[in-house]
């Protein structure tokens, strides 16, 4: 891979040969419901806790992604996933019986892009098959980050709704690809690992505002490094800035860099729900938001040719309930992946 600025371009792009995005009942009732590879009406997944339900959902997404790529767990060199639960137990318990070498990653809601970036780079280093994924669950997040579900806490309009969902993508080295998989494969042409950006936002009910500066920085840097313009992309997809964060992203890019991405931009957080009807305030959030949307709806549209060149920029708010209670700001990060048919 070749470095330009902070962006890495692959001479031999790693390929996504399979993916799956799964989601819960509420997400299934949203605009992308038909595109998910599975919608679980029972979001307990038959488990004893919401935490184990999240693990079960990620486990399901991994199995579906491997099936779609026709890959067995024993052929996977590395699986890298992450989630929002304390000590990343969403991932640890999802992976524990799958017998794949496990790289635990943490990028808050940017995790899907982070694991895709790292997978692509490890393939570039010589690995054959890497698996990237992420998950979140409304019920496990709500009680960990906010209030017990039974409390019914009120939310301001800037708040977002943690998505119950998981996504997983299988990345293979182009050198070893089965010709059968080639025509449906999606190229990872470039990756860009973000730098933490903190403009001092402290409101844990306004993650969009905390993450927008990181997204603006990564997008501006990526366009600068690759000498491209927003018009060169069919889609610039942010993770989960929601309505509030997306508006701030436009303003920041316009003011700081005179870049206008409004025509090309969509946000997984505003796509996954019908904001006018589903009572999710500023939109969806959580690692599972961009993971489930990217690995199902977006991948399907790249594969069928509707989207030819997509810049996927997932964003994360690097806080914890403890750091918020201690009055700390919310550092943001955004990682980018360039995808082409």
């Amino acid at each position: 891979m070749k470095k330009i600025g902070k962006t890495y371009i692959f001479e031999l792009p790693p390929l996504i040969i399979g993916s799956a995005g799964v989601a819960g009942k509420k997400e299934g009732e949203g605009p992308l419901g038909d595109d998910f590879d599975m919608v679980f009406e029972d979001t307990t997944m038959g488990q004893d806790s919401f935490e184990l339900a999240e693990s079960a959902m990620l486990h399901d997404a991994i199995i579906r992604a491997l099936e779609s790529a026709n890959v067995s767990p024993k052929d996977v060199d590395f699986v890298m996933t992450g989630d929002l639960l304390d000590q990343c137990t969403g991932s640890c318990f999802a992976l524990k019986d799958l017998e794949m070498p496990f790289i635990g990653m943490y990028g808050a809601c940017s995790t899907m892009a982070l694991t895709l970036c790292n997978s692509a780079m490890l393939v570039s280093a010589g690995a054959n098959i890497c698996v990237a994924g992420a998950s979140s669950h409304f019920a496990s997040s709500e009680r960990q980050f906010r209030y017990p579900l039974e409390y019914g806490g009120q939310r301001p309009p800037t708040a977002q709704w943690t998505v119950t969902g998981a996504g997983c993508a299988v990345v293979q080295n182009q050198r070893n690809i089965d010709p059968e998989n080639l025509q449906n494969a999606v190229k990872i042409s470039a990756v860009h690992i973000g730098t933490i950006t903190d403009l001092g936002i402290k409101d844990a009910n306004n993650m969009g505002a905390a993450m927008a500066p990181a997204a603006a920085r990564t997008i501006a840097d990526f366009l600068h490094d690759t000498q491209t313009k927003p018009e060169d992309y069919d889609l610039i997809l942010t993770g989960d800035l929601g309505l509030t964060g997306s508006k701030l992203l436009f303003e920041l890019l316009q003011e700081d860099s005179e870049i206008d991405i409004e025509t090309q931009h969509k946000d997984c957080g505003t796509m996954i729900f019908n904001l006018a009807e589903q009572d999710v305030n500023s939109g969806g959030s959580g690692c599972g938001c961009s993971a489930s949307v990217f690995c199902s709806h977006i991948m399907k549209n790249i594969k069928n040719g509707t989207l030819k060149k997509v810049l996927f920029v997932a964003t994360g708010a690097l806080m914890s309930p403890t750091s918020t209670k201690q009055g700390q700001s919310i550092p943001g990060i955004a990682h980018a992946v360039l995808l082409e048919k």
Copy 2:
């Protein structure tokens, strides 16, 4: 890099060109006190909380490691660190003002080996300089995982003492190395990402027992993959199995694989404290245990020729207070790095 079994051998080994291990007062009073690059008498680090103190300690280790390698933060391609705090805020707040592209990782107490493995592979993919690190803090861990410090909870003999410390290593691509750095550099000859291993241990006061099966598996697999014997190593260094876990490791390796590593084995958790005098029960633990010991004491002994071939196997217990309260077992993992002068 070349794959043999689950082990990756580097044709052109990435080099550790600088490192630093820092620790708290109690660790400074232990047998390795003189080898730490810094011992902080005031483990609050002048911060408002123990969580921020942990971040400040990791920040310090990173700066010292970069200085020892004569590298500026702006020349770092990727920094990857992790810790035990909820949502990895130890790392996020340590890194937030350093302006380096950040890859968040989670491997519980195996994190130092995990970040070293990933750093080496990203260098193998074409990155120039990667920074790997990890931290833990007794006071931030104690109140998050166990009891408020003021409560003075009693511990069984199998319990371990979370190390207040951090370590950081700077890994460079051999192609680009400054000749001045070459003679002090340490080669990363091979890496091995572990697979989660869970034999059903549920006692959160016996992490050694939870992690020993993963360590045994990784060591047996590594020796098998590389067709080597324990005698081929000057040191087989586990992360923080403590007394209990180390004993179980010997038994498991002997029974399952007829491998005897007792002569070559040491454990960071039993090295860092004087177990007879420092009241730490089974020994030290936490990401900062193997990180601070490896990045100071061990690196110094490889550089001065005392140790020529070291297999570093850090171990992690992939649980959270929530998973333990829900009655779940503690999955273990162990990642290995082969280091040579």
